[in-house]
């Protein structure tokens, strides 16, 4: 601890111990604890206490004081825990009987302060930090803390209850981890008393008829198996698994969620040879209701090593609801469904038909689980792609009312599902995920037809429509290319001709979310297919490009931004131009985007314009390439005045692209690459510098260097460093450095740095620029910028000063408040 902090500490302790002095806020106390943790990790706690007796005095004082706030009491408990984590310091505090007074029954535990959740939480956290060594275990046993922790598991404050459970696991782990661990047998009777007590408590809770107790026990065990990796956990499972299995005999199974969590936690940590465990899992799968079993089934399928039989059973659980739907909606007994031989399980059917919420919940979970499983390498194989596609299409049709099931169950399902947005969204997501696989052409046609149905239907809500667009895009992009031909296959081509009129209508929707998702869809589609003749032809024959351009004036800024991106993309592929006068159209788009950049009141469209411009410049867009210099000058001028830092940062990105085009690529984009950018040949450089001066790139970059937003300044710094490296061979430092021009520019820069950015830099000669690049300490600036913005104020000294200043102990309030 530095001396200045040691000097301030007594005053701070006095403030903390004084109930009349309000402490600034909880954040200060948290920071103080963080600081003490860091200090004790770096050195001896004992020494710290001996050198700063005020700390122990504070702890004693807290015990005596009646009217201290619960925050300070909680803070003190945690502080004591931090000190006592080191065994010698623990002994030191024990000598003063301080710890029993803080954590024992004579302490806050028995007093009025205990009613505050903050105090109970502080007590637990203090013990959690403290319990690091065998002495701590003895202490816990001696002061009866474990019983208190048991009772806190049911605390009304969820934070306290959860922390209590975690503390129990921590103590158990500490007790079992000791030096004897390796030798300790799996027989529970050999376990230390403390562990015996905790495990005994868990056993009692598991046998309890009160569900909260069972839940507590299960969550403690889940934490134990999730976080502790000692051999002893296997012994624990051997001892407790019969009790867990007994829970399955009850109907309904109590605390099923927690049980699933526990079993998965055990399965992840147990060796794959544990047959008993797999049997328990299989038994659980068959005992739980379809809704409860879903998460367990998914968890099992995600396990790396797991018997095939169990995996098949688990997959069956996930497929069951979809199998029921397929069966119910089938017009006639058709091809084998999802589950060969097994008709729709009656329990699943009952759940589906019991109520709307149960049906929706079960289907959404099944769809989400299968969607999560689909891309995983360990997904079941063979993956029933075709029946799953069929199920997704059927569910979507039931939801839209276009399915006409003949069976009674199908009719009732239809009545429940029709118009249900939640299931529609889940099914569309799932259908999108299935696009990664293939399917029989007939089914793929059905997929496109149901997607089109959703895109057309006025009843599709904006969220459903967004999902439908996303799924359509995925399917379109995954559609097979005709062999030997680079163009779209005939099915896709046909679909496009049906899709574009729908997109047209959606772009005119009164709901802005719909217009926005339509534009996003168009952008993505164009990005991938801009070069495909079939797509180009269909798009140009439609009104879509014209409508997209009209949306640049949309009242909603998000839509304007999406329209900017879409038109930018269309224009990149030459899809904006009308056949009559292509040049005029393009130019007007550039002018229109520049107009948006300089006048739009919202940030999103302006950011989008900058992105489009950067892309255009990078890709050598015809109209930009025509007069890139004028283009860059115009854009930088507009961006430099922008109030949105992201626009300015994007301006620097554009400037960098321009630089690279003039001077060659940066050596490597890897920030850790040691090689500096190669220098440019002097002739090229001189010319480039002339150009850069003409487009006033330096004024823009230097202004950005002192930008009040750090990312902008950092980006500018990087850009100038790159330029300096490129310009290395260009003249000696003294050549231009002494000219009056440079001096005045440096003076201006200093003023800018001080915050006065009104004055312009004026025209710079290339020579002056090179001199400036050398004279400005760009590395230093980069290092400063790399520090977090509060690095000055984050020092412990500053923290202590702030806290003292807040209560007026320090004479003047100089410190920042934050």
């Amino acid at each position: 601890m530095d001396p200045e902090c040691s000097r301030l500490l007594p005053a701070l302790c006095a403030v903390l111990a004084d109930p009349r002095q309000p402490v600034a806020d909880d954040t200060c106390l948290e920071k103080l604890l963080d600081w003490f943790t860091a200090v004790t990790e770096a050195g001896s706690s004992l020494l710290l206490l001996q050198e700063n007796p005020c700390l122990v005095e504070l702890l004693f004082h807290v015990l005596k004081s009646q009217d201290l706030s619960s925050r300070i009491l909680s803070f003190s408990l945690r502080l004591a825990g931090i000190f006592a984590a080191q065994e010698n310091c623990f002994q030191y505090l024990q000598q003063g009987e301080l710890l029993p007074m803080l954590f024992g029954e004579v302490g806050p535990l028995g007093g009025a302060a205990w009613t505050a959740p903050a105090v109970r939480s502080g007590w637990i956290q203090g013990l959690r930090t403290l319990a690091q060594h065998p002495s701590a275990l003895h202490f816990l046993a001696a002061c009866g803390a474990v019983d208190t922790i048991f009772s806190l598991q049911g605390d009304p404050s969820l934070f306290v209850a959860s922390a209590a459970g975690q503390l129990l696991v921590h103590i158990l782990d500490l007790a079992m981890r000791g030096p004897a661990e390796g030798r300790r047998s799996l027989q529970a009777c050999d376990w230390p008393a403390c562990a015996q007590k905790i495990v005994g408590h868990i056993e009692d809770s598991l046998c309890s008829t009160a569900i909260p107790q069972v839940t507590q026990a299960l969550s403690v065990l889940t934490t134990a198996f999730g976080h502790c990796h000692g051999l002893w956990t296997q012994g624990l499972w051997v001892r407790l698994s019969p009790l867990v299995a007994r829970l399955l005999e009850k109907d309904p199974v109590p605390a099923s969620h927690s049980l699933v969590d526990l079993l998965l936690s055990v399965a992840r940590s147990a060796p794959s040879s544990d047959r008993g465990l797999w049997e328990t899992l299989a038994q659980t799968l068959s005992h739980l209701s379809p809704t409860q079993a879903g998460p367990l089934a998914l968890g099992i399928l995600k396990l790396q090593d797991c018997p095939q039989v169990l995996r098949t059973q688990a997959f069956g659980i996930l497929l069951q609801p979809l199998a029921c739907v397929l069966e119910a909606a089938a017009q006639a007994p058709g091809p084998p469904g999802l589950l060969e031989g097994a008709a729709g399980d009656s329990m699943t059917v009952d759940t589906l038909l019991s109520s709307k919420s149960a049906c929706v919940g079960l289907l959404c979970c099944a769809l989400a689980h299968l969607g999560l499983l689909q891309p995983l390498p360990q997904r079941p194989s063979p993956w029933p792609q075709a029946p799953l596609l069929g199920a997704a299409v059927t569910i979507l049709r039931l939801c839209s009312g276009s399915a006409a099931p003949t069976s009674d169950v199908g009719g009732r399902l239809c009545a429940i599902l029709v118009g249900c947005g939640r299931v529609q969204r889940a099914a569309l997501d799932f259908l999108g995920a299935l696009s990664q696989g293939t399917g029989p052409q007939e089914l793929v046609t059905q997929v496109f037809s149901v997607l089109l149905e959703y895109l057309v239907s006025p009843e599709s809500s904006s969220m459903v429509l967004k999902k439908a667009f996303q799924a359509t895009l995925r399917w379109l992009l995954s559609s097979p290319k005709t062999p030997g031909c680079c163009d779209l296959d005939p099915h896709t081509q046909l679909f496009l001709t049906e899709l574009l009129p729908v997109l047209q209508k959606r772009l005119c929707s009164p709901c802005w979310e719909v217009r926005d998702s339509g534009l996003e869809f168009l952008t993505q589609m164009t990005r991938h297919w801009g070069g495909q003749a079939g797509f180009r032809q269909a798009l140009l024959a439609s009104e879509v490009p014209e409508l997209t351009k009209q949306l640049l004036r949309d009242p909603e800024s998000y839509v304007r931004a999406s329209a900017v991106t879409a038109t930018g993309q269309l224009s990149s592929w030459g899809l904006c131009a009308s056949p009559e006068c292509p040049g005029a159209q393009q130019e007007s788009l550039l002018v229109e985007l520049l107009h948006i950049l300089s006048t739009d009141s919202e940030g999103f469209p302006r950011r989008a314009v900058m992105q489009v411009f950067t892309e255009w410049l990078r890709d050598g867009h015809a109209d930009v390439a025509e007069d890139a210099e004028r283009f860059v000058a115009g854009v930088l001028q507009a961006a430099s005045r922008d109030l949105d830092w992201e626009v300015r940062a994007q301006g620097l990105e554009l400037a960098l692209v321009f630089l690279e085009q003039l001077l060659g690529q940066r050596g490597s984009h890897c920030p850790y690459a040691e090689a500096l950018p190669e220098t440019a040949p002097p002739g090229v450089l001189a010319q480039a510098l002339q150009v850069l001066c003409r487009v006033q790139l330096f004024e823009f970059a230097f202004r950005a260097l002192f930008d009040c937003d750090r990312p902008v300044a950092q980006k500018s710094c990087d850009l100038l460093l790159f330029l300096r490296a490129k310009a290395a061979p260009c003249g000696g430092p003294q050549e231009a450095g002494d000219s009056p021009n440079v001096a005045s520019v440096e003076a201006t820069l200093q003023r800018w740095q001080a915050g006065e950015q009104g004055q312009p830099l004026g025209y710079l000669e290339p020579g002056a620029v090179v001199a400036l690049l050398r004279s400005v300490d760009l590395e230093g600036l980069r290092d400063t910028l790399a520090e977090s913005s509060d690095h000055v104020e984050k020092s412990p000294q500053s923290l202590l000063q702030d806290m003292l200043a807040a209560v007026g102990v320090l004479g003047e309030n100089e410190a920042d408040c934050y």
């Binding site: 006409a404 009719g411 239809c414 006025p458 009843e459 009164p510 409508l547 009242p555």
Partner: protein
Amino acid sequence: MKLYCLSGHPTLPCNVLKFKSTTIMLDCGLDMTSTLNFLPLPLVQSPRLSNLPGWSLKDGNAFLDKELKECSGHVFVDSVPEFCLPETELIDLSTVDVILISNYHCMMALPYITEHTGFTGTVYATEPSVQIGRLLMEELVNFIERVPKAQSASLWKNKDIQRLLPSPLKDAVEVSTWRRCYTMQEVNSALSKIQLVGYSQKIELFGAVQVTPLSSGYALGSSNWSIQSHYEKVSYVSGSSLLTTHPQPMDQASLKNSDVLILTGLTQIPTANPDSMVGEFCSNLSLTVRNGGNVLVPCYPSGVIYDLLECLYQYIDSAGLSSIPFYFISPVANSSLEFSQIFAEWLCHNKQTKVYLPEPPFPHAELIQTNKLKHYPSIHGDFSNDFRQPCVVFTGHPSLRFGDVVHFMELWGKSSLNTVIFTEPDFSYLEALAPYQPLAMKCIYCPIDTRLNFIQVSKLLKEVQPLHVVCPEQYTQPPPAQSHRIDLMIDCQPPAMSYRRAEVLALPFKRRYEKIEIMPELADSLVPMEIKPGVSLATVSAVLHTKDNKHILQPPPRPAQPTGGKKRKRASDDIPDCKVLKPLLSGSIPVEQFVQTLEKHGFSDIKVEDTAKGHIVLLQEAETLIQIEEDSTHIICDNDEMLRVRLRDLVLKFLQKF
């Protein structure tokens, strides 16, 4: 209690309820779908329509070619359009006491009923219903009268001939009862019989029942009706909406505790959500106009058009349509737009508060002010000078058979740039378009029907819990085209009773009580006797006086003054000179004590048998049998009157008398 169902149309109902001694007609809707069988009436001479070929029978017989014309495979009657009236034969309509009107769409048959059936009663309706109903009738009369048609077709209605016609003419029902439109004179006369009422106003009908209009949330002044006597309540729900549109919200609470709830006027398009349809309407409108096309919206001059204009008010600027003119063409356009602004008390809360700012409650006022919306009585006159394209035209009639819309269909039908958007759900758009085929213009169907859908009905029924629900048969099964959609029908317990046209339903509840007033002086004379704690009885002798369905118990007339002139001590002496009344008995006979008493009085050899209803006491010696049951005691003995009287007196000892 009976319900006579005069109309089979679920949203244009006409039912007669016989309740107590009253005969109440519930709505009189006019089914105008019959007009779809007729050729359109063009406002400007249409060579296309006048040159349509006549229709001839398969064998080449062309005797009907003057009456029937063929267009794109459909056959139409070339005559003044006719309407299908409610049944007039099922019940003598001159006996109808009152007609209750729910909303302006459900009163279009009123002149036929009030002017031609001997009806002498009163019609009850809210002011907006009457005013807007008048506008609708005025528009209808105007549309038809301004295109006089010399020809009137009647040959085809002959039953033998009708059979030979192609569908749908072949299947048209009751064609012989179809009638031409009424005249303005008849409209005025019919409307003069209306008495205006306000929401929650209680109207006594002959002292027998009380009727009350309740806000139904569907249209300006639209109402449901509660019809109740002292002990029974019938609720009539017609055209209600739970959506937040311009009218006052629906009053659901007042429908509670109904014995019967007659449910009509649900949405005609249960699968279309009005919000989605409005979105669809705007998208298509914008798409057409942006491409330089015109949009035609066939509509009624009131109702949904207010909401559409409000949506467009918010939408047109954002969609960059500010420069596009919107035209509203109807003989009553001006009145409709103005009326809507003055019925503040009938509007939803938001719109009501605007009036106090003061601002016009509907934003179409601003559209008119800024010249974005222009209205004209017809296409002739000013409109032809102002007409600019592309534009959006709102005009009637939604059947596309008469009104200015016919002109626009002829004008714009040939170009695929133009679009007709159907928003009114009353007519099948395909049938409406049939005489205009082949048609190049785009057709969009966005029916906007804000009336209750089946989910809302099911919630409503759960909320108000009527004992019985009565509804048109169409609501008790899924729509024929979607037979698997069991969610598109009324689902309630007990199942709803359904009716169809020309059916008489006996409503499933019996009246059990009637309220009778008792005059104070008579009440004063009663001497109640407590039979058991909390229950007292008294005998009443009085005269029941019934007048205007009110029943009053009055003291009986005094007997002729006896000549002796004896002074009366008590009012109860004032008993008329009638038969001496036997006292009333109450109580029960304890068998054991009764047997003991019998023994005490010398009877022996007594046997008691338990029966299902009580006991039988056998006096074997006297060959007598006493049958004691809960509400009767019989003494059966052979012609021994003395013995019977003795036994009777013993029985009476155990009973109370009063």
